[in-house]
Symmetry: D3
Subunit: 247 residues, 6 copies
Amino acid sequence: MQLSTATWQEVEAYLKHARGLIIPIGSHEQHGPNGHLGTDAICPEVIAAEAGLEDGILIAPTFNVGQAQHHMGFPGTITLRPSTMLAALQDWISSFTRHGFTRLYFLNGHGGNVATIQAAFSEAYAPWSLKGEAAPFACTLQNWWELRGVADLCKRLFPVGDGSHATASEVSVTYYKYPDFQKRVDMSPKIAPTGPIRDAADYRRRFPDGRIGSDPSQASVEAGAELVAAAKAALIADARRFFGEND
Amino acid sequence: MQLSTATWQEVEAYLKHARGLIIPIGSHEQHGPNGHLGTDAICPEVIAAEAGLEDGILIAPTFNVGQAQHHMGFPGTITLRPSTMLAALQDWISSFTRHGFTRLYFLNGHGGNVATIQAAFSEAYAPWSLKGEAAPFACTLQNWWELRGVADLCKRLFPVGDGSHATASEVSVTYYKYPDFQKRVDMSPKIAPTGPIRDAADYRRRFPDGRIGSDPSQASVEAGAELVAAAKAALIADARRFFGEND
Amino acid sequence: MQLSTATWQEVEAYLKHARGLIIPIGSHEQHGPNGHLGTDAICPEVIAAEAGLEDGILIAPTFNVGQAQHHMGFPGTITLRPSTMLAALQDWISSFTRHGFTRLYFLNGHGGNVATIQAAFSEAYAPWSLKGEAAPFACTLQNWWELRGVADLCKRLFPVGDGSHATASEVSVTYYKYPDFQKRVDMSPKIAPTGPIRDAADYRRRFPDGRIGSDPSQASVEAGAELVAAAKAALIADARRFFGEND
Amino acid sequence: MQLSTATWQEVEAYLKHARGLIIPIGSHEQHGPNGHLGTDAICPEVIAAEAGLEDGILIAPTFNVGQAQHHMGFPGTITLRPSTMLAALQDWISSFTRHGFTRLYFLNGHGGNVATIQAAFSEAYAPWSLKGEAAPFACTLQNWWELRGVADLCKRLFPVGDGSHATASEVSVTYYKYPDFQKRVDMSPKIAPTGPIRDAADYRRRFPDGRIGSDPSQASVEAGAELVAAAKAALIADARRFFGEND
Amino acid sequence: MQLSTATWQEVEAYLKHARGLIIPIGSHEQHGPNGHLGTDAICPEVIAAEAGLEDGILIAPTFNVGQAQHHMGFPGTITLRPSTMLAALQDWISSFTRHGFTRLYFLNGHGGNVATIQAAFSEAYAPWSLKGEAAPFACTLQNWWELRGVADLCKRLFPVGDGSHATASEVSVTYYKYPDFQKRVDMSPKIAPTGPIRDAADYRRRFPDGRIGSDPSQASVEAGAELVAAAKAALIADARRFFGEND
Amino acid sequence: MQLSTATWQEVEAYLKHARGLIIPIGSHEQHGPNGHLGTDAICPEVIAAEAGLEDGILIAPTFNVGQAQHHMGFPGTITLRPSTMLAALQDWISSFTRHGFTRLYFLNGHGGNVATIQAAFSEAYAPWSLKGEAAPFACTLQNWWELRGVADLCKRLFPVGDGSHATASEVSVTYYKYPDFQKRVDMSPKIAPTGPIRDAADYRRRFPDGRIGSDPSQASVEAGAELVAAAKAALIADARRFFGEND
């Protein structure tokens, strides 16, 4: 069930028997010559939506802009400063826990978000830890490409040049969702360079077209379909395990 | 054009001839017995999307969670504190202006956002005003239901009980977008009460099912279609005027 | 009763039978060629003081500097950033509610404050709404020029050129209070232009002498006296209604 | 000259030949059985106003609520948290320096403000110090009771029981300004106890009627007049010295 | 060279030929029955100090309290909230870059710091990325136990029960530094359990004596000496590589 | 007992019979031609350590970087902005009080910290004062050079040129601790000038080698030993008095 198209009474009914929620979290940032700026929001959104449809888990709206300062050298990128993202996530978490959700599962689409999301969890726990009370909720972070079986599938689908930013895999997932927005672009070099990530000017100098280590011209709707199917199944299993934790 | 499904090169090309951007901004909060929690995000998103399709204006991703503290008594509502929303909007505005957008048009779907958005504009101008330099951008806020002609249409479509929260109009727009998620609910009382808006407990006591002054059981896909068509046309005209301002 | 010249025991006694408080809130910012920089603080302060004298309502000290970034192009203007004003109002509200005041009536003298004050109310309610408890106080905002009957009186006194900034009305109120500080200046143009409000440089370009839509050379002590008398009576009635609210 | 009743053109003219400004800064907090809640704002305001009248120095509006958390056990007290006061003072300082004031003289009326004001100066200098540029302004803090000659006068006027909070001296200054608001109260004990200042509950326990070390029943209009005259003269001399500093 | 015992002229001289700096960063938090509360500060401090002595690299004072909210259930633990740590690291980074350091190498002793430190780097880069200028510095984070060769040595020294918190390795390093503060405690169970890390109450329930997966009773001065020697050598090599980076 | 080298069980045992804690707090900033950058952290650290050794009082790790914006003109100085230091001290105080420490004694080594530390105490008390509950802790600040008898000793040891920054006394204490890091430098002028403290550029212009009013070439290990002995004894007495306070 999508929270966006549910009524409050439907959420109230859901909370009678369940306490878990999946929150897709992404970014809007350049994804190379043929990838969508919304890639990192679209991927977890699509996978979560299909899981919600199949399993009935409640899916929150997507936290759609994240920490992407290093991509600011490319038009269209939007970023939150980490301190802002920390504050925004506190409010999302407080809102959910106030309604009685106790298991918050963040399905992430952007590597650059990981540190700030984990810091945000600590920020959320800290007031409870400082007053010596048990926090009435638990958060977990899962990158969709690290769901069980997905990395292997990526490797099988794109043995060469899946890469680490603007990957063939993530572009495939967006093509699966938006087949009309596929872009055919020759990549040069075929496989993008790799290196450390720092500020935006440094990034643009190292990675002139935005990709890191990838050849996303391999992306296809079919690969996207396979990836979504695999990720969906793994997500349902993983979320169910997390929601059902007794300890 | 949707920023989400564009590449950075497409945004770069857009910026060669245009400097304006529409940002849908909404909320996730209860909308009474038959309205979606995402109503206030969906409405500006749908209207902006159709305007972008027809006119080619670039449409940003939706700022989809806003200031909704007063709705927290109803499950599923998500809120930012105003201070957090102020910070988040600074980052969105800074991101856009860094790329060279100079006219930021916020199409709003939620009355509870208005004060904080306007405060956010002042917050964004303040550093320039304090250093004595001209701000290299201008922001404007437009509620979709106040676009030219839309209020008249609402009144014509729903002469009685359009109301001010969970309105027949806004529910119609969401039904137009998501016809499979229409909910048929008898309203009791037929038309909801009105009153001041304060904290969540006060709100829930005054407005037990969440509506204010409305009878949204009148909502229909057809009314939604009419509203979106009217709002789209007015939005294109208004945004073009704002983007074209010389002074 | 003025809080400033009361003792704590007098406030304690007041709280035995009353829970309401009026807080004048204004700004220090340019008010055109013949208006005082303190106009927006002086107006609500004077009106509230007379109401307090006549009726016995407790009047807080004036929150005398507000959100005026757009006036920073004119020497003498002082501004808070909206985020700072949000924080400061939290502390004022917390201080009053800690003593047992439950009805906080902000009498405002500056249009540019409105958004931030309203956002501040939401910020004050939010912690209660997020923890699911009723807020033990209610806030309301009233612009003095929108008190019942005042707008009509302004129109009658100044049928042409009352305007929207550095109005003939507000300058009259300050002249009533400080007759020795009247300034006689020829206005050129007679009636100032109108337009949108953005950053300070833009403002100064649009409104070179600071006025918007007004001809404040019409201001007079007599008009001020009439305005204060009307506003005082309306304020007492409105504040009493708000303080006496049961729901 | 009072900034409040000046026009922006008058401030512009002032800045043609002067760069200094006096900012009265106080507090609203209990001042014992016969002292006004506004004492600490009134004292520097009155002294500065007379200095401005005699000498022509520009006087800013009063920063009228300060750091008074320890007095919150007494009704009517208003406090800013130090972090809020730090932020508010940044905005005041930024506003003044943007107009070209380079010497900001804070005349303080409240001991509890001292630490936060001094921290605020460091906060204001820090961005310049961190970027390696000279700050284009200097701030100074002066408690009115430490102006040259004033402490001696206090001692002469009230050899016993001037005290350190709700002093006979400061109450005298307010009585001089507001003779109609003198309160005659027998003090018990005659001279209040002394001790450390911590949180509000601790304060109220140690100092049940709010005074520290004082017998303010000695306060008089005449003593106030003498104090204001002495402080005014010393203030003019001290401010002139500070404004004229070349190094 | 230790910055703490250097003069400013010595640092000035250092900056004539070098631009890199090592900053030990740790935590003060429980480390099980026989580990010091300062373990995570001591380890990087000791390793960096020996590297500084051997190689002449400048070593900053230790950032000695970090993000440890999950350990708050154990007396003596001190934590910063992530938002505070983010702010503090900005000031450290700003201070160093203002002096001309361009390569900041953070040698970390605490897993719980990693997310917040990485978020802090993004926070430091963000202003540059948002204004479109190259950041004049680069930061890197290195956990001492992940320095080249160290993990292998840990495994060789403690093939069973090195664990992940209060490890035999880290306790050994502190024993090497403070041999007089070795504590001999029987561990029960011999090897501590493992599990996820959330708030402090949850942590204490899962890990009653504070350890995770470790048997630190194996710790010894000799093992510490070996670890420090290996880590020191790897640190010099890694820091030199980072400082010498041209790209 | 040093918290750093204690286990959590040892702190738990300490808390069974004691509630007081000493926190050394300093700075890293230039200390003239022959003083260490860490002087202000080293001095309270050394004195507290010896007191802890002799008396058994628990000594926290040193808060080692403070407010030193005015020294940023000299390489090696590190500063926190006052707002950051306020936040960091809140977290330290919250951590200690959560464990049951009720008497927090800050032994300070840096005059520039005083205002911010005192503001931080008010910030820590404020939430309690605003909710009307007694704060469950008390804080005190003591500069080591103002411990009973120490100022007299300084005067006796260095009758001329002890000064107020980079004093002969404080340099002596660091030489006592680190005799190998004594620096012999001829001072020119022999005794440094004095003046006000503002931003860093102003400071460097007034005090070219960093000293204020001092001739630290007089510093010696022997003087340091005397000073530490005197300060240690006074610290134990003063802390014991503070810890034992009943009121």
